[in-house]
């Protein structure tokens, strides 16, 4: 595991005083019981051995149920992660430690960290391209906190406020009850109860501080169900509450479109409409077939977008999506969602029942233990989509969504008057 190769990189970067709680069992260095289990291919006549379900702990400590093939795929993924780690260390040796934290050209759509063309140096360009390619192949788990903070702009965001910001924010929330805290308290034990640390008192207290802290930072978002899953996974990756908090902040304030989680989830409605449009363009046969069946793809895709796939994909696959999300921006979610449909195009086209569509999509997503399989589809088979095109499409849909939500509110309030 990566623990042997890390040389404490995570440890010496941050001031320990600012770290509130450690998620002490870094999953990536946590040997799991199924770690070395290797099943041989069953002989003919024993084909149903593939169907045998076993419960096992995945790479980030989630208890999951999978079959023999899933376990084998996970073992391969672990091996590839080790190889990918070696690539990162080799580059560090040649380019210098922390080369990936240097200025680069932002591909995140936002303005932070953008370098003007005049100051553009060849080395910056090379590093940006190398890093982009490298990140698509996966950030080693031990480097994720550092790389994510840097490429997402979270480190920069944090640097604009006093060092004591997080501690003071948390102090200000103590003993206060708001609609957000009530909902958070309700959801804590219901957030990945299959994960032993998140299910512990310590884990829930950590998650509570991050979520409550954020609800005080942005009262418009407050707390929206779904963020509990996102923040939980951020805690597992970032290891410290404060880093998880800043990743949540940059995600909601810069990476994702506005208003995905506020009041009537208008941003989420917009993204769903853009997604439908993209599906029609990128997978026209699937889109036409599903429309003829009367199947609205938002029925399944809403959860994908609100939880950023954390409730849908296996943990390491989700985090590989997040690697790219933090580096390249929210359009990555479209790539991944389209890929899940595209991967099963032939099956989807054969199906005539809505229930079967959902079954196929869910089963496919839940068993995507191989992140490269998904990301290859997402980027190579779906083809490029420029941020510009998507921004234009969003603007167009925003007007429609606002009108629709407005009309709905008026209809509902007239109902109340009648009643």
């Amino acid at each position: 595991m990566f623990g042997t190769q890390v040389r404490g990189v995570v440890e010496d970067d941050f001031n320990p005083r600012r770290r509130r709680t450690l998620w002490n069992t870094p999953a990536a260095s946590m040997p799991t019981t199924t770690h070395t289990i290797r099943y041989s291919t069953p002989r003919k006549g024993h084909a149903n051995a593939h169907q045998l379900l076993a419960k096992f702990e995945d790479l980030y400590g989630f208890m999951v149920e999978g079959n023999v093939d899933d376990v084998n795929v996970l073992n391969d993924v672990r091996e590839r992660m080790r190889e990918q780690g070696r690539v990162w260390w080799a580059l560090e040796a040649s380019k210098g430690a922390n080369w990936y934290l240097q200025p680069r050209i932002s591909s995140n759509g936002g303005s932070e960290g953008v370098i003007s063309v005049t100051s553009l140096k060849l080395s910056v360009l090379t590093n940006t391209i190398t890093l982009r390619r490298l990140i698509r192949k996966g950030v080693p788990p031990v480097l994720r906190p550092k790389v994510w903070l840097s490429v997402s702009g979270a480190a920069k965001k944090r640097s604009t406020v006093p060092e004591t910001y997080y501690d003071e924010l948390i102090r200000a929330t103590e003993g206060k009850t708001t609609p957000a805290t009530l909902q958070i308290d309700h959801d804590l034990p219901r957030t990945f109860p299959c994960h032993s640390w998140l299910n512990s008192e310590e884990g829930q207290a950590s998650l509570r501080r991050v979520l409550v802290g954020y609800s005080f930072r942005d009262s418009e978002v407050g707390y929206c169900q779904g963020l509990n899953y996102v923040a939980a996974l951020l805690l597992l990756v970032m290891k410290t509450e404060e880093d998880a908090f800043w990743m949540l902040a940059v995600l909601l304030e810069n990476v994702l479109v506005n208003d995905c989680y506020t009041d009537n989830l208008s941003g989420c409605h917009v993204e769903q409409r853009v997604f439908k449009d993209l599906l029609a363009k990128k997978c026209p046969r699937i889109a036409a077939h599903l429309e003829a069946m009367g199947f609205d793809v938002s029925l399944v895709a809403t959860e994908w977008f609100l939880c950023l796939f954390s409730k849908t994909l296996p943990s390491e696959t989700t985090l590989r999506v997040w690697d790219v999300l933090f580096n390249e921006g929210a359009k990555v979610l479209f790539h991944v969602a389209l890929a899940i449909f595209k991967m099963r195009e032939d099956d989807l086209l054969r199906i005539q029942h809505i229930g079967d569509v959902i079954d196929i999509l869910q089963t496919t997503a839940h068993h995507l233990y191989d992140p490269d399989e998904l990301l290859t589809f997402a980027f190579d088979k779906i083809g490029s989509m420029t941020t510009n095109t998507i921004t234009k499409e969003r603007k167009k849909q925003e007007t429609v969504v606002m009108a629709e939500l407005d009309q709905r509110i008026r209809r509902l309030s007239s109902l109340k008057m009648d009643g």
Partner: protein
């Protein structure tokens, strides 16, 4: 509950609506898997399940949409109740606010949904009588006035859970006229045959 071979199978879209934490997912889990867990993962958007139920010689295949309860998710609800053949509006008998919320859902369904949608009102957590805030009589009267059928349920002890779904299935099979099939209720085989013609009853 298994369907007999040769049976007619009717697909019916069913949606669960109600305030956060009333036990919508728990009711579904109890009905579909016969299980109960104290801390059910919170639902985001909606979760989908399917379950078949045999009533006499006919079978209903429920396509169940279990929706998220938090207020701001309300704007997503039409996508799930659109074209539903049946809806279960759930409240928690130990939480008066959840009953108020349930009434709003009923009102919205009556105004926006399909007029043929069969609606059930489920007062869940009926095992926790000592903490009751909503009298059963009050809910029953409300249900009668609004053309819903009403049951108090407990996903924890399984009381009345299967009964709610069974009652819905029965009404679906009884209450529809062949030419008046609600959207969302798709007849798979020989649609015009065997449709019992009778007026739908509301208790």
């Amino acid at each position: 509950m298994a369907a007999n071979p040769g049976n007619k199978i009717r697909n019916a879209k069913l949606v669960l609506l109600g305030d956060v934490g009333t036990g919508k997912s728990s009711l579904v889990l109890r009905f579909v898997k016969g299980q109960f867990v104290e801390f059910q993962e919170s639902t985001i958007g909606a979760a989908f399940f399917s379950q078949t139920l045999a009533v006499n010689d006919e079978t209903v295949k429920f396509e169940i949409w279990d929706t998220a309860g938090q207020e701001r998710y309300h704007s997503l609800a039409p996508m799930y109740y659109r074209g539903a053949a049946a809806a279960i509006v759930v409240y928690d008998i130990t939480n008066a606010a959840s009953f108020t919320r349930a009434k709003k859902w009923v009102q919205e369904l009556q105004a926006q949904g399909n007029p043929n949608t069969i609606m059930a009102l489920a007062g869940n957590k009926a095992d926790m009588v000592e903490a009751r805030q909503v009298p059963a009589e009050e809910a029953k009267t409300y249900a009668q006035e609004n053309g819903l059928f009403f049951m108090e349920t407990s996903a924890k002890t399984a009381i009345n859970v299967n009964d709610v779904f069974h009652e819905i299935a029965k009404r679906l099979l009884q209450g529809q006229q062949a030419q008046d099939t609600p959207a969302g209720m798709v007849l798979n085989q020989r649609p015009a045959e065997r449709m019992v013609s009778s007026s739908s009853c509301c208790s």
